[in-house]
Symmetry: C2
Subunit: 296 residues, 2 copies
């Protein structure tokens, strides 16, 4: 059975009943839009869309379940970056009509697994045919309390910089099975004042300059302190990308208490990698991370 | 200049300042997620994602501005279908690195034009490289009042069926420049009780059976009454698809007043095309409309 034979209506009907839903969902997949109860008045609506493309973010031979995992986990990682709570996801699958339905089944297993981990309801989506590589886009809506959302732009000179986990070498397999750091990010904003945060998707060499530019500050990194995954060079830790770890900035007077409390709560590594400075005229020399259109 | 040379950061920076934004936008393109003020407590959150694919929804030679128009207008038409108010859009562009920046510029002109017509803010998006056909996905969030949102599933036997505008022949050009019927839908739910509604994207031959199935009713259509575009056969009006007109069901006692009031307010044609019946064992014989995976 392939997508051409199944048809869109039957494809949707087949998956709609298996999608994770929470009780805020009033109309899910099958109507023109998803309809969900809106968050409260002291909350902000967060929206994010992201895509994975065959040949760019996954290979033809990548198991469909891993493709689904990655497609859902990527936008959820952006919720982590803002200390947001993801709630509702829409999935768009663009695939060749000859795509086996078993492949689509496995894709949805992966999508639904990550979604369920974070209590996210898959409330709808679209399918379209294509003659080219398979594309999966996932759009997520959720919320953050007005006092808890973290942008990239609030960092100050003197702030200390932290990174969760370890960096580099994700293409060995971690890019297909990473955990969005939502629980860690929510814990951080519950206990501490975080000035700026993002998730490392393109590599710290590309993402740290983005945080610094958004906050209009400079930075100084102790490259020897960068937490590397086993077997990774410094250049890989800086430039490979797809780490999906958190990079955040906190005031120096918060630093010691945060590290102590973190160690009691999480087994995940937390590393102080440097600090922010006044803005510089010439940007510091850091190898650039992965940037889609410049990579090839 | 093409996408490979420009790079994603500069692409985003170039467009971010031109995107339409309203004052509910707290963080738009450039941060990890879009952050927007949430709707009030007596409103429901509406979410929709849709895509256009080169070779399926538009041709290689289609002007980029028209591609942008269509990409944005399609999900907005789904808001019309629910009598919803779209507010925020996220755009994902998946294109070859060699895509000219002028093409992307024109695409955004088209996207922004429809968005501005309906006061929709483009709050972010993603770009990715691909080796295949260009894909544009647009995700939209908005609201509908709890008392005004219209699903497909509320129609009752005896309800009369109406269609706005004319059907058929959209591939001659209308599929690239249609107007989502948001104002008309909002007017309908302001003045009348609408039992069920959808937008005709796949052709009434496919979409009416969907409305009937969702409402667990049957239908009887006076095929001679179907409003056709000039030069279209009945089969085209039923099966071509991409009309993006509204199909809705109202109680028979509402029918006359609705038609009279509509004629005073709108120049757009409104046609009574039939009525709903009790559910039937065998579905009525209507040519099937456009269904993506069965089309080729």
């Amino acid at each position: 059975m392939n997508l051409r034979k199944l048809g869109e209506d039957r494809l949707l009907a087949r998956f709609a009943s298996h999608l994770p839903l929470n009780r805020k969902v009033i109309a899910g997949a099958g109507d023109d839009c998803a309809v969900v109860d809106s968050p409260g008045a002291d909350e902000l609506l967060l929206l994010k869309t992201d895509c994975v493309v065959e040949g760019v973010h996954f290979a033809l031979r990548t198991p469909a379940r891993s493709v689904g995992w990655k497609a859902m986990a990527r936008p959820l990682s952006d919720f982590a970056a803002m200390s947001g709570v993801p709630q509702f996801a829409l999935v768009t699958l663009i695939a060749a009509p000859a795509t086996p339905v078993a492949w689509v089944n496995a894709l949805y297993v992966g999508l639904a697994k990550v979604a369920a981990l974070f209590d996210v309801s898959i409330v709808g989506g679209e399918t379209s045919a294509t003659t080219g590589p398979t594309v999966v886009t996932v759009s997520v809506a959720g919320f953050a309390e007005k006092k808890r959302w973290i942008s990239r732009s609030g960092a100050k000179p003197g702030d200390e910089l932290f990174v969760t986990g370890r960096l580099g070498g994700s293409l060995g397999g971690r890019h297909l099975r990473f955990r969005p750091r939502i629980a860690e990010a929510r814990w951080l904003t519950e206990h501490f004042s975080i000035d700026a945060m993002l998730d490392l998707s393109d590599g710290i060499g590309a993402d740290l300059p983005r945080l610094a530019a958004a906050s209009r500050v400079g930075f100084e990194i102790d490259q020897g302190s960068l937490p590397r995954n086993r077997g990774c060079t410094l250049a890989q830790a800086i430039g490979d990308g797809e780490d999906y770890e958190l990079l955040f900035a906190v005031a120096p007077e918060t630093s010691a208490a945060l590290q102590a409390k973190w160690r009691k709560r999480w087994s995940l590594k937390l590393t102080r990698i440097g600090h922010l400075t006044a803005r510089r005229r010439s940007p510091p020399k850091v190898p650039r991370g992965y940037v889609h259109f410049q990579q090839r």
